[in-house]
Symmetry: D3
Subunit: 272 residues, 6 copies
Amino acid sequence: MLSLSELVRLALQEDVGPGDVTTLATVASDARGRARLYSKQDLVVAGQAAAGEVFRQLDATYTPAVADGAYVASGTDLGHAEGSLAALITAERCALNFLMRLCGIATHVRSCVEGIDGITVLDTRKTTPLHRTLEKHAVRCGGASSHRFGLFDGILIKDNHIVAAGGIATAVARARRHAHALLRVEVEVESLDELREALEAGADVILLDNMDDATLREAVSITAGRARLEASGNMTAERIRRLVGIGVDQVSMGGLIHQARWADVSMRVLER
Amino acid sequence: MLSLSELVRLALQEDVGPGDVTTLATVASDARGRARLYSKQDLVVAGQAAAGEVFRQLDATYTPAVADGAYVASGTDLGHAEGSLAALITAERCALNFLMRLCGIATHVRSCVEGIDGITVLDTRKTTPLHRTLEKHAVRCGGASSHRFGLFDGILIKDNHIVAAGGIATAVARARRHAHALLRVEVEVESLDELREALEAGADVILLDNMDDATLREAVSITAGRARLEASGNMTAERIRRLVGIGVDQVSMGGLIHQARWADVSMRVLER
Amino acid sequence: MLSLSELVRLALQEDVGPGDVTTLATVASDARGRARLYSKQDLVVAGQAAAGEVFRQLDATYTPAVADGAYVASGTDLGHAEGSLAALITAERCALNFLMRLCGIATHVRSCVEGIDGITVLDTRKTTPLHRTLEKHAVRCGGASSHRFGLFDGILIKDNHIVAAGGIATAVARARRHAHALLRVEVEVESLDELREALEAGADVILLDNMDDATLREAVSITAGRARLEASGNMTAERIRRLVGIGVDQVSMGGLIHQARWADVSMRVLER
Amino acid sequence: MLSLSELVRLALQEDVGPGDVTTLATVASDARGRARLYSKQDLVVAGQAAAGEVFRQLDATYTPAVADGAYVASGTDLGHAEGSLAALITAERCALNFLMRLCGIATHVRSCVEGIDGITVLDTRKTTPLHRTLEKHAVRCGGASSHRFGLFDGILIKDNHIVAAGGIATAVARARRHAHALLRVEVEVESLDELREALEAGADVILLDNMDDATLREAVSITAGRARLEASGNMTAERIRRLVGIGVDQVSMGGLIHQARWADVSMRVLER
Amino acid sequence: MLSLSELVRLALQEDVGPGDVTTLATVASDARGRARLYSKQDLVVAGQAAAGEVFRQLDATYTPAVADGAYVASGTDLGHAEGSLAALITAERCALNFLMRLCGIATHVRSCVEGIDGITVLDTRKTTPLHRTLEKHAVRCGGASSHRFGLFDGILIKDNHIVAAGGIATAVARARRHAHALLRVEVEVESLDELREALEAGADVILLDNMDDATLREAVSITAGRARLEASGNMTAERIRRLVGIGVDQVSMGGLIHQARWADVSMRVLER
Amino acid sequence: MLSLSELVRLALQEDVGPGDVTTLATVASDARGRARLYSKQDLVVAGQAAAGEVFRQLDATYTPAVADGAYVASGTDLGHAEGSLAALITAERCALNFLMRLCGIATHVRSCVEGIDGITVLDTRKTTPLHRTLEKHAVRCGGASSHRFGLFDGILIKDNHIVAAGGIATAVARARRHAHALLRVEVEVESLDELREALEAGADVILLDNMDDATLREAVSITAGRARLEASGNMTAERIRRLVGIGVDQVSMGGLIHQARWADVSMRVLER
């Protein structure tokens, strides 16, 4: 797993390569500068650490003005950078690329979960390769929660695992035997029959895939508290609100991340 | 710069970590499988090489059924994977994360540039860190073109460079002196006065930032072919269509990438 | 996390550096050879993949003669290598260093858990840095099981976490809130009072640290099946046998790995 | 070759992965702490630099209380760490894994060589992959000496080299010609005849493999100071003592490292 | 692309490997020292940053006494290092290897371009692998200029590209279409006919390969300012002087780098 | 230490970066080609493995026509490459940069040592950072021999070590104690008095630094075979010839490498 500093190092390498020719040519190497990063729309802040690391790797400093998770109005200062003027100009795009993406996700998540109470909204593994840690962090900034990180820290038995194992009961039993005792077993089911099999097999969590509200209601009643229930498939903010009353424990929603667009953030060099 | 194989290696490491516990537990290690990746919406294909590399690194094969750049209807096979069943299941999410993002960008780009003729539509450096090569490729799949890759293969003198150099003339002169002769000099201007200065300084390309149609029209007339003109700022598909008649040579539009959402692509294991 | 091939690459680099001067000087570069790796004591086999990778990286082949997990008598062939004679000689020590360590652990584990039934014996995070995947695999080859892999795939609340959180109840509640739902919560307790607190807090697994048999017996009775119980601290093969009757579910034992010595394995070049 | 900082970085990555979920959940991120690392048995200290590096990489400090090589009683403070409480708790296992292994080796070495005078006791290349620098350092802490580091900084002609070269004389001659003049040539022999051949060939050092005391005595007499003599094979502390009188110059003993068990070292968080 | 710090880290690893045995044995680890690096011939300084990084990575400091680009007499101090005496001695060779190479190139370049006015002298891509950034910097220190950095930041259509594309016109057209607008198109021609084709195709820069003075003169006249002209092939300082009058804009010359020998620089430890 | 494949990977990354824009634009991706690499001067071949690896990494093949070490006339084929036409063109410069440098060194070495008999001519540690393995190989191709590789595989006590240790006797004694027994001890001396001290201290090899022929002659007589003698300092081919008669055993000469210029090698694409 890339650490944040490795990720940022590679990002700068990608953008700067053998050198920022424009800045090297036009900006005196001993000029100093200050810059202000600010929102150009209402947004939830996320990604301050990544932005800061970009400036730090170019020997500049970055001081956040608001913390990740804050919801700020358009025109709010997000942070201030200080260092060589050339470094600030070279860093700008890379720092903004992190901030705009992550604020965009956090802001989109907020719009999905705002005012929802009584149900946990989770992200999925549908994340941008190499950005999962950051994106899952942005999801939490926006007010939703994390599902498992990857394939290694949680058991989720899906369709293909069930067919390969020859049935839900065998799949669950194999998972219990193979995995260490601190991992719960979740099973994805597509029908109420499969739900009953999963409950009988002793699944700890059951993912109800693509069921309508009526079926979900029946699933809650069949389960009767014997397992934690997760709904998934084409979730929207409106539908999540409806599900609260039905009694599902949690919903997962890849769109928290993959339907987000970048938020609008700018940097302005203040003085020289 | 990460090669595709390094990028995919890190992506798999991120998702699989010390092991896909579910699959290791439930799928026999000697079972073989085949899988079909297919579109669940109309989309422009992009990212076949990345998807293929994911399977390859898990010792499976991936054979694209359509080439990058093709526009296909919902339900079309994008490719077929073959290998150990466990490998296919472990690879699924990572391969789809690449494909869904890149098809999403290509499809969004198509919706922006479809039917536009007589003006070049360009991406910008607003790209996801570490994914620039892939995202710029997706932009071309969707029918738009590439601006410079990074800070090293093109000169673009912006506001801050001009202030640091003490004026447009000095900035252009310094850039000419510093950079090698195969790089053109582009200058970003915010007014017609600045445009005149840039023309006088001998800029090869001029970026007209955030000007309305009337101003752009005047800019074209002032320039009279002495430089290539690029319009930028809040571009939309509709506005681009209008700009064709005005005579601007090219427009750049970060939103080609940062306003795209993922396309819907699925994988189905066919048989075992 | 290092992959096996990266680990082996670094291991060869460590041993061979800029070149095996003895072999380069004395062995003709076009000579071919075969070699036999064999046990010089009764042992449980572990590490065949690592040994094979060493030969593979020097463009030789390695064919295991017995699988990991087999218990073999002294003098048994473990595998056969074939390739350039120089490669076999250069690879020998590195391949044996992996095999001897891992067979040593597997064999020691077997001596600890042989004939034990009705209780799960687990390893811990007391492993050689960068060798955890291999060592935990060797533990399973020897007949014991794996606890969580690292700090990221299981929750184990210890003494210091409890003090920091201000009590068992708060610590468990925070863990439930912070972690995703597929991770169980284990709490380490040092007294029966703490056990009661942990049960009340809803811990899924409870680690009973350094308790004598009488106290463990009482712990089982207090718990009455409300949580899974793990005993730990100065475990020996004999004591584990006693614990079966007491009703503890699992024991963990760092000594499975850190009290193991290398097993005796040799390589003999067969012919040229 | 991995530097210490790279080794520790990988070790932390292995243990912490995407995050220490327990500590993140239960320990306030602004809490500070101090910790004491101390021996729980009499031991020779080794590994302070590695332990220190673990804390340093988590932005904590570590101040050794005794130097590597010191022999300390059970209950002695080995060092003190200070930093964020969460960092100390996350670092604990990784720091101890280095310390316990290396103190274990140093302590075992001391038990092998204590009181021995008049003969040099050497380690071998039987070391844990990627830990050779640290383990050879621990051997010196325990009072024994280092043989060559790897295949690149010393010539040791063994059985297979001799067969490949077609005899001891040719092998030695080839080694002299190929290697630079600052490397001595050592030859491993299994009989007194081979010893005579090696002496005639002008070997600088001769390794007498698996000979009994009587044969070793005869070897010393045949050699008559013409080469440095090294005994090897099933060495024990008792036997080394006997060899002093026989007149062998040095013994090598893989068991210095591979028969060592971990020493018992603990960390206690002192206050918060 | 390797950063300077990565390049130096690898360089030290290459030279020091598992340890500088001589210095570790003979120099007290707590001794401090100062050292003076000085020229032993008249030379142009280049490489101060690389030399400084070598000392920095061994926790010593290096203060340049003259800047890169200065022309200094034999016996001039280039810089002063200070730190642990052992570090200075270990660093010496590696620091000098960078300095001597780069000063050698800068000094050789000066001898080629001194007193030349009215024509730009350029390096080529004939550089030592992994040292291109440093070598091109040394070229500029010596008074010449940089051609494109690599294959990615400039278009140069050569013989093989022309044949592959089916002619100069197609090749230029394809390059214009494929590349972004900030890259100029240079075409290499071997005859005046090809020159005419290239001009017609609209090449921005034309490389006149291996032409004699008379042909170059004719080329200038044919071109009549329609493209920038570059001469190349067997350039020497004397010939470049002749070309100024002919009216070629620039010459490129691989020998700036590949015909340079190392300059003579020494380090003397001053006191302890 | 970088392996050859890592070195070449980085070299290609340096040259190709995000893509060979000219070749991508002008050469059809499915065109195949063959190419011939040939000498344009008489030269000693060196570097075939590096050239081959460049082509291999671009999925082309390279078949050497002559082996490293061969002395060939101008116009001789060195090898043939085959693969995608685009790959051959992209690989050309990088492959030639390796070959031209290494053939240049080997050819220069030959001119220094040709016809010399009775004295060993050695390289030094004055090598291009990260190219030491290749350059020392080229030295052997040219007919000279290798001194120690780096600071880790040989002991060479110089001026500064002697001052730091407080004299030659102490320095030698410390080196003997610290280093393993397979490393000889070489001492650099600047006067006959120091030579006598070094002999008395038992140095195995003595480096006579910057002595004139008369002094060297006296040194040989004083030494009387008690140590191996190496002359160094401003060596030229002519002087080496003189030294044969004087009785010095070896000379070392940094100029074998740092006074070499690149040899002239070209690649021609044969057909398509």
